[in-house]
Symmetry: C2
Subunit: 337 residues, 2 copies
Amino acid sequence: MSVNRRWTLAARPDGPVKASDFALVSEPFARPVLRMGEVLVRNHLFSVAPTIRNWLNDGGSYRGSIPIGGTIAGMTACEVIASEHADYAVGSRMVAMARWEDLSVVRPDSAAVPPFPVPNDVSFEDAMGLYSPNSLTAYFGLLDVGRPVAGETLVVSGAAGSVGSLVCQIGKVTGCRVIGIAGGAAKCRHLVEVTGVDAAIDYRAENVAGRLAELCPSGIDLFFDNVGGEQLQAAVDNMADHGRIVLCGQISAYDRPGGAPGPSDMMKIVYGRIRMEGFVVGDFVDRASTARERLRQWQAEGRVSVQVDVRRGFERLPDAFVDLFSGGNAGTLLVAA
Amino acid sequence: MSVNRRWTLAARPDGPVKASDFALVSEPFARPVLRMGEVLVRNHLFSVAPTIRNWLNDGGSYRGSIPIGGTIAGMTACEVIASEHADYAVGSRMVAMARWEDLSVVRPDSAAVPPFPVPNDVSFEDAMGLYSPNSLTAYFGLLDVGRPVAGETLVVSGAAGSVGSLVCQIGKVTGCRVIGIAGGAAKCRHLVEVTGVDAAIDYRAENVAGRLAELCPSGIDLFFDNVGGEQLQAAVDNMADHGRIVLCGQISAYDRPGGAPGPSDMMKIVYGRIRMEGFVVGDFVDRASTARERLRQWQAEGRVSVQVDVRRGFERLPDAFVDLFSGGNAGTLLVAA
């Protein structure tokens, strides 16, 4: 009999999330009798993603909610160790929606984002980096929802994050002028020098609306929003006519159960003929392999790269998660078990 | 020398607009020497439209602003009585963006919505009714921006108004199930019995969000919003996944210079994959004749009709305008000089 460690929700965060909101449980693990359609996986690498914050709030909403004492949910890179599903053989490797625990029972057919296989020649880090759901979020959100055109001005909030950083790079591939918004001088310098944006705005030190007005004298054609709140408002105040706003996430409000409000004056959206559109990556899974092939090609050409921040040690999951909201990470944050 | 009467802005409305915010000026009119590109028109019929309320607020914004003492702007049905523009001969009739006055100098080429000609076999009332810019707003907003599909559930705010009423009817032509929101039992009864909606919600007497939940158990596919504010929020709380919100106007906030805010929680837009899109009818003028032809055909088939509320007397313009915001009109409100 093996041991299963798992991180559970000890308390609902009241405002900013703290490591003490989580509790580690270690208990003997009796291999379960799987039902038809289930697989048992061993989780090797955990994605520490902002969206998990939504699930820590009280339930009753459309967002989903983890109960007190429940195990934290999240994407993992994992290996199938028992299977009652014909498509997932024992020994196969995949990225799946599982939980923060050593061993998880997963039902692939009822997952919002179906598991995707990780071929033997792709490392778990690449599977959770360049080929991860976050990368697909950037790819489909920008190209399918935003529909950028060469020569347009693209502004990205949360530009130093996992999704935002790749949006910036794909934006450059499409021929856009790209402006990234991030917190802190170091992240902004990295955006300009490494990620390759045309300009960066430090929302902690600068007036975002004022800087956008300076940098976008003809207005913003396309705003890719991971943050919401004040940054969304600053973008709305500087949109070009017929501009588009891709709503990917609202990390500024994940600490607040009420959520982040929309623009203060919707007549700006009317007169500006603005399109605001939300999306979730789960809707695009049937085209994931095409997206990954293009990402692989762009990486080979040196046009995109994904910065992965891997921490070692299952016990470090809560600290890594807290870092995500205090801006202590750069790129995709992963924890290896 | 003739006399020109004109309604001017006497005071910026502080909250709800009052008749005393306007002042009537009557003065001798010396026929002006027109510059190239200008025409002089006699205004016969005035459109009393909610959007004018925006122009009464303080300037400095994207909305445009009429100065104190300035003449109120608005669409009129008019006749050209002098012309320095090759396309607009003396004697030709048109609907144009002019002002609340007997005689206006108009520059067709610099108007946001270009004037459109009124053929001799079309009355001024029809030109300002079925074929008016309001009708084109309904037509293009619903069909081009909203893109309804037969069988979908369409909800319309301001459904008893000039734009909303036609949106409801075109929605039925497209095969949608249509629910109209309006103020007062009489308007709601008219919507069901005359306009032909499937259900009506009286926002003054009923809880809009609760009624929408009852009437749209599978969610709202398409929301056409003329009102904004609480009604927009009620719709957002009841949208189906992949629903669309057409942002046409925000009459609930025209009394407030700050405007009406967007949804309280933008994550609903993300998770729901909602598209919210603003538009102005001026972008569709090149296709106006096609739209008018289809409206004429639907009218002949008895599928659409436009209710026109014509008041007689130039001096009644402010009272009619105040009625618009207190819900005292039904259908398109016009004042005949």
